[in-house]
């Protein structure tokens, strides 16, 4: 690619095809985000271009709405709680999974990762039927438990991948110096795998923050989250307030993506993969 002038006509043709086609696809991928963000600053009520003028009225409408504010609160309460639970359970499990090969490990792994593959509607319906008699539907506890189950596979995968690069001699050195296993974990292992654990936590939070099917079936009116309110909003008539909510959620995604990238770099530095 570097020596572009040496390309034959055939190669130049294919390169053009590649650039044009992938350019179009990348545009297709970004188009919804590019289209919806400016609309949230529109002063008019129509969801179309050209904008009638710039204003923050839809953000004011969002902030003034008790319903949307409750949804925002719920999204963070449920997202953070389930991410904390998923990270704790998933990290400990990943430690066990990388430490030794025990019998039935393949099946255990398949079960632990299945929440990632089983259609969410089945998870939601199963949870609904099973936990309704226990009074866990229409409760925060129920939603947090369900979202934790959905988030753990990502924690297990991320932390297990980080542990693969972990030098076991460090843990052995710590043990030989008299540290108890728990001390070794908190003082030696955890600081070194922290970026992987944090990435896993982000994945778990994102899973909960984006989830709507379980919320749709299991949550009561008090537990409605942002995606759940958006779902109702999109079913009825679409208020431009939704574009403001969407923009805020895109901002959350950008922050999470940036955090993930920083963690990845930090992880590489900790492992000495990069200067």
């Amino acid at each position: 690619m570097a020596a572009a002038q040496h390309l034959t006509r055939e190669e130049r043709f294919w390169r053009t095809v590649l650039y044009v086609s992938s350019g179009l696809v990348l545009f297709f991928l970004m188009a919804p985000i590019l289209a919806i963000v400016p609309l949230s600053f529109n002063s008019g009520t129509f969801l179309t271009y050209p904008l009638e003028g710039l204003s923050l009225r839809w953000y004011h409408a969002f902030l003034a709405s008790e319903q949307w504010m409750r949804a925002l609160r719920n999204s963070f309460i449920i997202g953070i709680s389930s991410a904390v639970l998923a990270t704790a359970l998933g990290t400990v499990a990943a430690l066990g999974l990388t430490r030794a090969d025990f019998r039935g490990k393949g099946i255990v792994m398949a079960i632990l990762l299945s929440p990632m593959i089983v259609p969410v509607v089945i998870v939601a319906v199963g949870f609904y039927f099973f936990f309704a008699p226990l009074g866990l539907t229409a409760s925060y506890t129920g939603l947090i438990l369900a979202h934790t189950a959905l988030g753990t596979p990502f924690v297990v995968i991320t932390v297990a991948a980080t542990l693969k690069g972990f030098d076991d001699n460090l843990a052995r050195a710590s043990a030989s110096l008299g540290a108890a296993p728990v001390t070794t974990f908190f003082k030696v292992v955890l600081p070194l795998i922290a970026p992987g654990v944090a990435s896993g936590a982000l994945f778990a939070f994102a899973t909960s923050f984006d989830e709507v099917v379980v919320v749709l079936l299991v949550a009561g009116p008090e537990q409605r989250t942002l995606p759940r309110e958006m779902f109702s909003g999109l079913r009825e008539n679409i208020s431009p307030t939704i574009t403001a909510v969407a923009t805020i959620m895109i901002l959350v995604s950008v922050v999470m993506l940036a955090a993930l990238e920083l963690l990845r770099r930090r992880n590489e530095r900790l492992r000495g993969l990069r200067g």
Binding site: F28, I33, L97, R99
Partner: protein, 409 residues
């Protein structure tokens, strides 16, 4: 001798230490395993149980459930004792206000089953010398074999009714499994549609994703990282946000219609949403990164020297690409396509929001029967069908790719 003794005990000690190590490792996995089993595996198994358990009618009409066994000659209606039981049960359940439960259950299997049950209850006399004649006199349906087959099959405790219904089949009075008449059959069509939509979305993802993955894999790292953001940002953006954006873009007065009119491609707005086109566009958009990311990581591992070797041996760039490069990307295409297909099968929210009534996939009906129209047996049976399809593909995926190799950015 002492030497051998020490050796044996050392071996035993090593074995014990190894066992302890494995046990400790398993103990670390145990909390999560238990958590997933309780909150995830058991509820799903319980849901599958609901697809074959059928107790509603037997609870409300205990006499019928007990005496229906006396109906042995399936070429005619049950003996008088069963009619007596039915009269008793209808009267009791009407008084106890549990009749609607029985009516609902029979309505699943018989057209106008609810009306039949309620009319009978309202017109039931206090006493009768011949309940068979009285009941058939109230409603001739009680003289039909199909009605009694439905009552029999609904008398529990186990039933194949819901699972058969999920594939548009039912049992006749004499126990044969037959196809449901085409006017009432819907689920095979829904299932076919689910597979068709998933297949087309997968195909679109492969076609659109391939060039992007190739571009990312062949650019210098710095530029590739920048371009990667264009894939990862939509990937990390909430599904609801992306669906909302597509509704805004595709609606009749939306940006795309305006642009197409401005460009002179069309004269008046075309319908791009609340139909299949909208479903294809939005689902492809949402699932595309799941194809690009695994394909990209496979392409990253293909050394450029293979292509150079092919070219130095006289292959044209096109030939080298098709005969050398493309075959090496097949594992990536397979992994990505299978993942996209599995995820697409379970889609519910996006088709519900951007599709029309004729574009809803199987998940929609599962959710519908769970919350809107309470028919848990049907929801569970359709869930069983979807789960079976997904788990089969999951197994294939695990065999081919390894589930731990899922790359998500």
């Amino acid at each position: 001798m002492p030497l051998a003794g020490t050796g044996a005990s050392l071996k035993a000690q090593l074995r014990r230490a190894e066992r302890m190590r494995k046990l400790r490792a398993f103990a670390l996995v145990l909390p999560l395993l238990l958590f997933i089993v309780v909150t995830f595996v058991v509820p799903i198994l319980d849901m599958l149980r609901l697809s074959v358990v059928d107790r509603d009618l037997a609870t409300v009409w205990p006499h019928v459930a007990r005496s229906i066994g006396a109906w042995t000659d399936r070429s005619q209606v049950p003996p008088p004792s069963v009619f007596d039981a039915l009269a008793t049960d209808i009267r009791d359940s009407y008084r106890a206000r549990t009749l609607p439960l029985a009516a609902r259950r029979l309505n699943y299997a018989i057209d106008e089953g609810r009306t039949l049950v309620f009319t009978t209850a309202r017109r039931l006399p206090e006493t009768s010398a011949d309940w068979r004649a009285t009941l058939i006199g109230i409603d001739p349906h009680w003289g039909e074999l199909a009605t009694w087959a439905a009552v029999d099959q609904a008398s529990g405790p186990l039933t194949s009714f819901f699972l058969l219904a999920a594939v548009d089949r039912h049992k006749t009075a004499d126990g044969h499994i037959v196809a449901t008449p085409s006017g009432q059959a819907i689920y095979v069509e829904v299932l076919t549609r689910t597979f068709k939509v998933s297949f087309i979305v997968t195909l679109l993802c492969v076609v659109l994703g391939f060039p992007v993955a190739y571009l990312l894999a062949t650019q210098p790292p710095r530029r590739a990282n920048l371009l990667m953001i264009l894939v990862l940002l939509p990937f990390w953006t909430s599904l609801l946000v992306r669906t909302a954006a597509w509704i805004v873009l595709l609606q009749e007065q939306g940006i795309i219609n305006h642009a197409l009119i401005w460009l002179g491609v069309i004269d008046s707005p075309v319908r791009l949403i609340y139909n299949r086109i909208g479903v294809y566009i939005a689902m492809t958009h949402i699932l595309l990164p799941f194809l690009i990311l695994p394909l990209y990581s496979v392409m990253k591992g293909i050394k450029p020297s293979y292509m150079l070797a092919a070219k130095s041996l006289g292959a044209s760039p096109t030939e080298a690409f098709i005969r050398v490069y493309l075959p090496m990307t097949l594992p990536g295409i397979g992994a990505g396509a299978l993942l996209v297909f599995i995820l697409a099968l379970g889609y519910y929210i996006t088709p519900a929001l951007v599709g029309g009534a004729a574009d809803q996939m199987i998940s929609y009906f599962i959710a519908f029967y769970t919350s809107d129209s309470v028919n848990w047996g049907m929801a569970s049976a359709l869930g069983a069908v979807l789960l079976t399809a997904t788990l089969l593909l999951y197994w294939v995926y695990d065999r081919l790719v390894g589930i731990t190799n899922v790359k998500l950015g």
